[in-house]
């Protein structure tokens, strides 16, 4: 069953201006639940834009995006945010941790607007920190973390609201080989836990990993052809 379905999705930036740019040009794609899908392609191919559209961070210029058979793009901003908070967990290329607050506080951020009790958010955060073997860094400031630690904190943050889909943009871009392999192990475990994973990467360590179920080649905003 397709968890996420894209129908002729297009995204145009600076529409009608001299610098108009079409990042996604009519992509149709099914992403299956519980599988690891990798969007593979060179820089500027439209992978990241596609991830932002699927993750409800931006609206497509044309086309439809269905989440569990529900058309989501016409929903008002508030509902989109709620979907983003509940359904998706994001692992960003730049980590995007907030400086000055602790690693644990960073990881807890997505749960704040849910209205859950602070103590239970904290408990869950600490549990995830232990699970990812970074409990000793829970009270360290975000800027003091090493690349690998920061990456794990972003993973904990992505998992904070127990989302069904994890979206990761170039997750190995700032990691060395050893840490990249560790990351792929973690992602494999998440897949075993039943999560749907959608990655964008041009790192062979990612798309050649045994955990990956499907690689989608993206070039110039279009899908080139799928490899199973």
């Amino acid at each position: 069953m397709a968890m996420i379905e894209l129908r002729d999705v297009r995204k145009v930036f600076n529409s009608g201006k001299p610098n108009e740019f079409s990042a996604v040009q009519g992509i149709s794609l099914n992403i299956e639940a519980g599988k690891v899908t990798v969007l593979k392609g060179p820089s500027g191919s439209g992978k990241t834009t596609l991830l932002t559209l699927i993750g409800c961070m931006a609206r497509p210029t044309a086309g439809r995006i269905m989440l569990s058979d529900r058309e989501i793009m016409s929903l008002p901003e508030r509902f989109l945010t709620e979907i983003r908070r509940k359904t998706f967990g994001f692992i960003f290329q730049q980590f995007n941790l907030i400086k000055g607050i602790t690693a644990l506080e960073n990881a807890m951020l997505p749960a704040y607007p849910t209205g859950e009790k602070f103590s239970s958010i904290r408990k869950r955060g600490l549990h995830l920190f232990e699970l990812f073997n970074i409990a000793r860094k829970a009270n360290s400031k975000a800027e003091w973390l090493s690349g690998g630690e920061a990456q794990r904190v972003t993973i904990v943050r992505a998992l904070m609201n127990n989302p069904s889909v994890i979206i990761a943009d170039e997750p190995t871009a700032h990691l060395d080989t050893k840490l990249s392999v560790e990351l792929m192990d973690i992602l494999e475990k998440l897949k075993e836990d039943g999560k749907t994973l959608l990655l964008a990467s041009h790192d062979s360590l990612v798309y050649e990993s045994g955990a990956v179920d499907r690689v989608v080649n993206v070039r110039d905003g279009r899908i080139e052809g799928a490899e199973e």
Binding site: T48, T49, L51, T52, M57, A58, R59, E77, R78, T81, E82, R84, R85, K86, F90, F92, Q93, Q94, N96, L97, I98, K99, G100, I101, E105, L109, P110, A111, Y112, P113, T114, G115, E116, K117, F118, I121, R157, N161, D169
Partner: protein, 377 residues
Amino acid sequence: MATWIERHRNILDFTLSSLLRRKRKNAALVSVYTLIVFLLASVLFFTYALRKEASILLIGAPEMIVQKLVAGRQEPIPVAYIEQIRAIRGVSSVQARLWGYYYDPVVGANYTLMVAEDPDLSPGGIAVGEGLARIRLAAAGDTIEFMTYRGVTIELEIRKTFSSESGLVSSDLVLISENDFREVFGVQTHYSTDLAVTVRNPKELPTIALKVAEMLPDTRQILREELLRTYDAIFNWRGGILLAILMGAVLAFIIFAWDKASGLSMEEKREIGILKAVGWETSDIIRMKFWEGLVVSLSSFLMGILLAYIHVFFTSFMLFEPVLKGWAVLYPQFKITPFIDGAQVASLFFLTVVPYTVATIIPSWRAAVVDPDSVMR
């Protein structure tokens, strides 16, 4: 409801840790903000309290005072004038008053000596205000020496001390018997300092004052209303001068606060993007910025008000005393009775806390309505 409260608590919690990580910047902001509120509130508290004191003082004042003038200066008035004034239709009573200022070289202060109709105050006895008792370290039973106009010293015994609602009244006052007063100042028996006139119908006061002026051309008539107006004008004028000077500081602060509050740094914009990307709604961001603005401005406001209160009512307006207190020399230890005008505090609140909070929200709202995909780039 519980969810809503928790949501606010969580966001407030994040706001506080957010404020703490920009400690220096926010501390500088809070100090400048506090200073401005402190200065403004000091002037407002002080002028209001003084006006209030003056009006309390004047409530007990006679409706009209008649003084004798010689060459434009006040002189003792003949007691014989009493009967002439009493004869005017509408006058209900005329009383001779005896009062004057006495310089006490021991403490270097001026006292106000006044004759009072008090059975306790037989010759040789006085009643003193609390301020005077404090400065002379004297209590009932002690004696105070007074130098008479002849250069002879007489000792008067303190029979009692008193306080009143207004420090202005009680602080330096000495109530004395008529005999002792005349002995100290040498005012002859058929003269008094001035005359206090009461009338049956206050509306007739101007007419009666005119009749007194025609009948006794060497006198001047002072109406209570005029005194009140003069006090009001003087304090408003002085307060106004100080406020005008402070306006420069206020303007500088407005520019500073506006710049701080309205301009979001790249770092702050990035943070808003991250928060949106991880599932914060635009309203959550605005809520956060609202709390941030409120915490900064409310704490500065409360601190400023508290400091101003201490400054005005405990340290006697130490910083600006020379500007607003013309009679500082007369009152050796003058403490103002705390009177606060709620409307003034409220207007200060609305002129400081509200604009600042709004100024922090608007730019955040502009940043928060942008799509969160900016953090993906």
